[in-house]
Symmetry: C2
């Protein structure tokens, strides 16, 4: 049942103390085995000890460090022999020597190694020593080791390169963690007693530093290390919670999505409650509980240092177990029927989106859908309200397109019953297999009020036009299962004043960081790759965007609207069969501008939808809308649009996302792209182009003096400078006010002649590739 | 002989005028054919005309543009039919209709298409029209078309996505250019007559805008387009020189490495010389001549507009041909024996570096080397000076390790003769094939003053120790052909007070942009990929770095030193055979900080070397040193370290490059990595960590109050916060002053406790992957 694992951290002194006791050491009793056994008895799952002791440190220092740049030839020779053989250790230098001692032991690599020393020689010899320790840990079958933290931002790339080399040279079994404190204590103000929260927005004049600028430095080091190590799945984080947690939620949420295998939690990080027992601050409790779902090992240290007046050394472990037991998420996930319980198996699992138009779904898939009571209840309510609004105008015709196994048919009948309307339900379905189930339902339950029609809604004919057209063709992003195209085909069935349920659906996007999902894409080559979106129950994900408009006040909210589809669509041009001639009216595009308050790495975009079924009855997976629009609904996980290469985004940057819904002759797909910007302070100095010498001024002026309206206009034939937007062109003028302009909720950076992006207060700093599925993962059948 | 091609640009009016003439049109005479024939007679190679005329524009506008958001159903229906079929054009809408008219014709795509309109509908219909024009151009077998320029920075991603879609839908034969002006005229000051050059450095208070900030905007658009199009080799640039050129060389050099297939040069860009003839400014002349080597087509427009008083319409083409004929580079490249002539065939060609230690070179390779007189002359001079300094102390022993086919043996003998010394030359060679040639030379030329020794210099024995050890084992990066390792093995042959020629060599790096080389790596999958360095005669390359220290004054020069190897090395630890025990002493690393004055895209690093042979006699391929150290030397091209993914660098950013020379048991290789930073203005607001409630202060203070020396020191066992560099550790202290520290000429961003990178005036904005050859392209045999 336990999700997390507890480890007792022992220091060298603890081992030395145990060794100095007058207990005979034999096959079954060594100082370390005795410590381990005691820890297991105390409720721990493992112990965590330094791999090496002071003897090795002394020998290494003697061999590898010079005094005043000098070294005796004998010692140099010893050092060279050691470098050549990368070993061996002496037995007396190691704290652990036997296989049985290693079974439940996490090794701490020598704390004094300096992989990021400013001295190249020290770095080199530290790397050899690290390799040697890791090889030894592999030899003893240890499951995991923890590396000392990087200490020098200037040389963190050296540290990272060494770790990458070690990952390649050690066995795949050994897991390597890097210990990192949650922030650099030097960046914390000495005013630690202030209750003030840090300012969330910095005025432009103070510019482009994060409110948590300095709180980023250790995360930045971790980011360099795991990037240089290519997001290796064998590399993880031992997050050090020795320091008081910062208030900024952006800083904490960034850490909570990193691969946190261990959490270092010394007794000194506990405060005393009113009775004097050790407890954690609310902030730390919440943070810890958030990480529990990733099953970390909590490394409890200094528990015997008598830091707290009440409660013995066991109080810390007991408190952490208590936190785990009372974690709402863990409790919920163990309760059948909850979203947490249902979703657990899907956490961060990349699924190809369904393509019900192209593929016929299996009965099991329908079964999964039908397990969600909320969606069906919302549909019934919407139909009921539509019927009620209509009043009793006689027999009502409902047409359900895409009936599946009939879940919504039943709800249509119930709505008819509730509203006491006389009516008929036409149920259209193109899946021949599901059509058998529909026949069975009709025979056994529905009777003659339901008429079944087999065929593609874009091709078949119905006996009469409907008052209400009901459909459930929605995907995680609203339109991503070709609902607009299918409904275009079905609109023939609807009376001119008829109602469509849903009446509209809107797609939303937010930029996210997720080392885990990025890694899934890197590792899982059987997936379609980073060029198609995936359906994912997002868990280890950090939303990078923030509300508040950003430093320049021109960014949208943290989750932004892309576009909306409304039904019935009255303005499409139809052919003789009542079908649209092209799919042009279903193309969409959006350009969104996000404020990025805290530095992070962009791995993709999270896509959500919100649908209006009828009036105020809706469906939503928008993180901020779902809980009041359709609470508890399980049917849709978000859509994940990955970026092939991670894009680093500094604090207070802006991310401009472009997304397109593109249509070809028989396909619909998305393409997406992003650029990053940083607001800056001042306007650039004026530019002066080269000028002719005085003797040549005449001819030059002839050029420079050409009237701008002639020189620049794009509408003049044979023009010679094409930056037409300097002068509004007649075409643009007409269309700027065109209501067809469906562009999303993004911002406008001084369109037209006002200088645009290059114009003074923002600087471009990066971009992604264009992501284009090239036919893979597209929807066919248009 | 001609490298460039000239094209006469005709406007619609020219065609209309020709059509209105009373000349009968038949099989062999159409208005366009007549214009073409006249242009060929006038010395042009082709003509450039608009593909479509006003009739198409009128029809497109009627179909696709709405009036007050409304459109008649009939017209909507026409538009939908057009969208569905993507055509056809009417004959009367096209300026070109026959295959023979298309032979030497560049098509200008309809200037009025708005692929970057703010209106989504206009963008959509412009994209269909573009596809239709491109399909038509493909049908007529036209070699190239020119697209109208992007006009709207806000929607350039839309423009780019449309072009990418068209590249995929058209035949591979058609080449597509995007017309782009060299800068946005709106960014130019009206003070066009000022002779002042723009300021090269902006003070920190004015911050992070490029001196050429606004001059970047059109290049930035081009960069978005080609990036979104994945560096397609079918996409290129039609650079528009309608506007006066900017003075900033950074702006110009950025353009000169882009794939510039056409240069648009209207008569209005010419000035008048003293006699009134049209000429170009010196700056434009230089810029044009620089681009000639890529064989562009110069599009000459408005030549009949009587812009200049003297010279008829032919004067412009004649002047451009004159520029070509008098281009020093073109003249030199046609002259055998010059560097330009020799290098021409190697321009931007990626070669795997030689591995003479692993492979035995062929005679042809030696032959190529021996064609370079400068290298041999420098070697003879160095040996002569060393002999002269030595004075006449009796018989001198010279040992040449790696004799090859003997080119330097001959120079040793000549130096002995010139200095009138009595001596012997031992020539060591491990290539069994070259050893045959050596025997022939000895027999026919050298006689008994030369003694040949066959074998690997790291293993064989020589009859006596040498006064002078001569070697030529240098690679483009100095040590990249394992010269340090080979000479370690040969130092046994040298008397304790002997001289090594070369006495040292130093490696240099600079960050470069090269869309061409990046493309070569993308396309040429037979190459080893982006994880190994290549030898390249760099041509279409722009050095991104600048001198001057950057905004914060902490950057090095534009080309920076990485490390140096000196011989003989006195301090290596040797075994009984006189060989080093490990290769640890030949590892190196450097961290370099470059100032990036103008925005650009980082594609790789250029590597150079400079060697001291003896005293002031040297060899250099360092761009700033080569012309006075070893002018005219042909033997080495630079080394190119590619980055897999391009990294966008804004103006005034800093690029921190890390490079390592790593050694394994039997290999040596390089790894490289870079991070980008942007200087910012102010310090961040102070951070306040969460604090306990008043009732819990006691326990918290116990933590916060722990003395820092105990709490933070990495050298204290059982420590709980690891950012040790806050307090200088004893280990670091010893080594900061260690002369073994061979770190390169980079800057130190406040090492240790001063806050480092996170500390207030620089913000990280991006990074590359670690490039690690994983054994490929490494050198073996150590």
């Amino acid at each position: 049942m336990a999700q997390i694992s507890l480890s007792a951290v022992f220091a060298q002194e603890d081992l030395d103390e145990q060794s100095s006791l007058d207990i005979p050491t034999d096959e079954s009793s060594t100082p370390l085995l005795r410590l381990s056994r005691k820890a297991i008895e105390d409720g721990y799952d493992s112990v965590c000890i330094p791999l090496t002791n002071e003897a090795w440190r002394t020998r290494w220092k003697e061999m590898c460090l010079t005094v005043d740049g000098k070294q005796s030839p004998e010692v140099e020779r010893l050092a060279e022999d050691w470098r050549a053989s990368e070993g061996p250790f002496l037995k007396t230098e190691m704290n652990i020597t036997r296989l049985d001692e290693a079974v439940a032991t996490i090794g701490m690599v020598s704390e004094w190694l300096e992989l990021d020393s400013p001295d190249e020689g020290v770095r080199y010899d530290s790397e050899i020593a690290l390799k040697q320790e890791l090889a030894y840990a592999s030899y003893l079958n240890m499951p995991a080791v923890v590396l000392p933290p990087p200490r020098n931002r200037l040389h963190v790339a050296d540290y990272a390169r060494a770790v990458n080399a070690c990952l390649k040279s050690t066995t795949a079994y050994l897991h390597i963690s890097v210990r990192i404190p949650i922030y650099d204590p030097r960046s914390a103000s000495t005013d630690t007693l202030s209750q003030q929260t840090p300012p969330e927005n910095v005025p432009l004049s103070a510019h482009a530093r994060a409110p948590d600028g300095d709180l980023s430095s250790t995360w930045e080091m971790w980011d360099v290390i795991r990037s240089v190590c290519g997001y290796s799945p064998r590399l993880s984080l031992a997050l050090d919670l020795s320091l008081p947690l910062p208030v900024s939620s952006g800083v904490l949420s960034r850490w909570s999505t990193e691969p946190c295998y261990q959490i270092f939690l010394p007794a000194t990080s506990f405060i005393s409650n009113a009775k004097g027992y050790p407890v954690l601050t609310k902030l730390t409790q919440n943070f810890l509980r958030n990480t529990f779902k990733y099953n970390p090992t909590i490394l409890l240290a200094r528990t015997r240092s008598n830091v707290h007046q009440i409660g013995n050394h066991l109080a810390y472990a007991q408190y952490v177990r208590h936190l785990e037991r009372t974690s709402p998420e863990i409790i919920a996930s163990q309760q059948p029927g909850t979203l947490e319980n249902y979703a657990k198996g899907y956490w961060d699992y990349l699924q190809a989106p369904l393509q019900p138009l192209m593929d016929n779904l299996g009965s099991g898939t329908y079964e999964t859908f039908e397990r969600d009571p909320v969606k069906y209840e919302r549909y019934e309510e919407a139909i009921f309200q539509a019927l009620s609004d209509r009043g009793n105008l006689g027999r009502v015709v409902i047409c359900l397109v895409g009936a599946g196994r009939g879940g919504i048919v039943t709800r249509c009948l119930q709505a008819l019953d509730r509203s006491k309307c006389d009516g008929i339900v036409y149920a259209v379905e193109k899946n021949p297999n599901a059509f058998v189930t529909l026949q069975e339902h009709r025979e056994k339950e529905w009777g003659s009020r339901v008429q079944l029609l087999y065929g593609d809604m874009r091709k078949i004919q119905v006996p009469e036009q409907a008052d209400i057209l009901v459909s459930e063709l929605l995907g995680s992003f609203g339109d991503n299962e070709a609902s607009p195209e299918c409904l275009d085909g079905a609109m023939r069935f609807l009376k001119p004043d008829g109602i469509s349920i849903p009446s509209s659906y809107t797609a939303y996007l937010a930029p996210i960081s997720s080392p885990k999902l990025h890694n899934e894409l890197l590792l899982n080559t059987s997936k379609a790759g980073p060029e198609t979106p995936y359906v994912v129950m997002l868990q280890a994900v950090n939303m990078l965007s923030g509300d508040g408009g950003g430093l320049r006040g021109n960014c949208g909210s943290r989750i932004q609207e892309c576009w909306t589809f409304s039904h019935p669509r009255r303005d499409a041009v139809l052919n003789e069969q009542g079908l649209p001639i092209t799919n042009a009216h279903n193309t969409r595009s959006a350009r969104l501008n996000f404020h990025i308050p805290n530095a992070g790495v962009l791995h993709g975009l999270a896509g959500y939808f919100e649908a209006v079924l009828y009036r105020d009855v809706g469906l939503s997976i928008h993180p901020e809308g779902m809980d009041h629009i359709s609470p508890g609904m399980l049917s849709w996980f978000p859509l994940f649009f990955p970026f092939r290469d991670p894009l680093y985004l500094p604090s207070n940057s802006e991310l401009q996302v472009s997304i397109w819904r593109v249509t070809g002759k028989s396909k619909v797909w998305y393409e997406w792209y992003a650029e990053s910007y940083l607001p800056v302070l001042s306007a650039p100095p004026p530019f002066r182009p080269v000028t002719p010498t005085p003797g040549k001024v005449g001819a030059f002026l002839q050029v420079a003096g050409t009237p701008a309206s002639d020189f620049l206009s794009p509408t003049t034939p044979g023009i010679y400078s094409p930056l037409a937007s300097a002068i509004p062109s007649p075409i643009s003028m007409v269309h700027e006010s065109d209501p067809k302009n469906t562009e999303g909720g993004g911002f406008r950076m001084g369109a037209g002649g006002e200088g645009g992006l290059g114009g003074g207060n923002v600087i471009k700093i990066g971009q992604t590739a264009l992501h284009n599925p090239d036919g893979r993962g597209s929807w066919t059948g248009l």
